[in-house]
Amino acid sequence: MSQSLSSIARFSASDLFKGKGQPGGRVAPFVAILLAVTVLASAANLLLPESSPFYVSTYTITLLGKYLSYAMLALAVDVIWGYCGILSLGHGAFFALGGYAMGMYLMRQIGDRGVYGHPELPDFMVFLDWSELPWYWLGMDQFWFAMLMVLAVPGLLAYIFGWLAFRSRVTGVYLSIMTQALTYALLLAFFRNEMGFGGNNGLTDFKDILGFDLQSDTTRVALFAITALMLALTFITSHWIMQSRLGKVVVAIRDGEARARFLGYRTDNFKVWLFVYSAMIAAIAGALYVPQVGIINPGEFSPINSIEIVIWVAVGGRGTLIGAIVGALLVNYAKTRFTAIMPDGWLFALGALFVLVTLFLPKGLVGVYDQLKAHFAQPQSKSDESSTPHQESAKEASV
């Protein structure tokens, strides 16, 4: 009986300090670090004079904000890929749609301050000779409505796509390539000026959000802090979901979908649900990203972008939420640094990073610690023979 009691304790997911066994299981310390850094960086930007050695420049703040949005995006991909084995090569689409919804709101906030001074139409519509706002732009001047759309549009798209695909049992690479086709089609569509989203130039030249000047330091810090909070929130929620029985079912679907069905789980429902959840996280990330970088354009739909997200997750360590976040932060930081330090050769460095991580850190950066431990315990295990059954079955499940 005491054993069963201890089992209860073990499975009460509310205790966030638990789950140390698996890498990346530590939620509270991570969230604490994240929020502490946020508070410190924000304070250092707002309170310290620029001359102070501890001053954090606004450039750094926006950069951090961008990284954190990317981290959320990586988290979204990890939830479905790492845990459910659905490799989405089109998650950038949901990110971009969320971004566009936010962008539309910001465009409408410009009002008559555009270059043509039109009270209602964004500049690109004026110079393309549009006479009135298309119906899908209506209501986007309301913040609450725009935020609703941030969630609703990508959510709905994910729902329809997921419902179709999972019900028809489209799996593995077929699903991956279809997600890629989805984002590619959207890329081409948004390029078209007729779509009414500014074509290739996208939406830009934003002025303010909820009445706050987007270019002021306080607004930037606030956006950064909100992003950090949202990341923490989605992280905790996702962690909670993955610790619940639902999380176990999701992993079970990854490893043996047919078996799960024979146990009575309607796996397509689970997958659709998770896909929509993940798409919404991506959309929120996109919505937070846009005001911080100041532009949203169809480039965000490009398939290569979506592939890159997957790579952040893989670099960090898939199947661990922290891994996804760490991967996104690290790769993007590396990109920022490399493009400035070695503008002509940074692709060599980044490419080599990807190759080396795959070869030497099969479980990503987060797995380094575990791997080191295992390495010392058993020095001469060869890489192809030590593949665990987990990996073998993950192969079936996801490719």
């Binding site: 295992a374 315990a377 058993q378 001469q380 295990s381 023979e385």
Partner: protein, 235 residues
Amino acid sequence: MISINNVNQLYGGTQILWDLNLEIEAGSCTCIMGRNGVGKTTLLKCLMGLLPISNGEILLDGEPLHSRNAEFRAPAGIGYVPQGRDIFPMLTVEENLRIGLPVRKSRTGDSTGEIPEKIFELFPVLKEMLHRRGGDLSGGQQQQLAIGRALVLEPRVLILDEPNEGIQPNIVKQIGDVILKLNEEEGLTVILVEQKLGFARRVGKEFRLMEKGRVVASDKMANLNDELIRQYLAV
């Protein structure tokens, strides 16, 4: 013929085989028995080079085998029928059998490039199913295919891991006959993992009992008594 000396094996952190020693005589038919999970399959995989051993040695005719690639086993004359059959599921029955032809050619000089008729005589069902995908076959049919596939190699040593799992009784008997025949008439060395006592007694000449990754008893099959069975095979 085959000597396994002080072999240790680990899966990740857990040790499965512990200083295992085993000697197989040429032309013998040795039956390895033991409860579930004692490491029988693991032992055979080490022998086939499919799992690395952490130390110890495996010798074939005095030559070290453990340092050679898995690919070397088949040309050296070892045929393997794994537990769970491991048929190539998307290859047809014919293709499953053809895989071994190059090795057969190098071993016997048989350059006809045809699957030996002997296989179909032993397992007529394979001929019927020749163009069906291996993965579509029923469990028992797959098992027959797996044995047939190993025999294409014209091996000197045949390793079978629970070959009767899921086989209908008359074919079990037939497999037993085949093994006996190959062993007695053609001098094929047989290593057999088997749980069913009846079959083991009928086919095996020797037995080895395993427990917790070690060989704990070995003797002629005739000497496998109730005491040993209770000690090592009963639950």
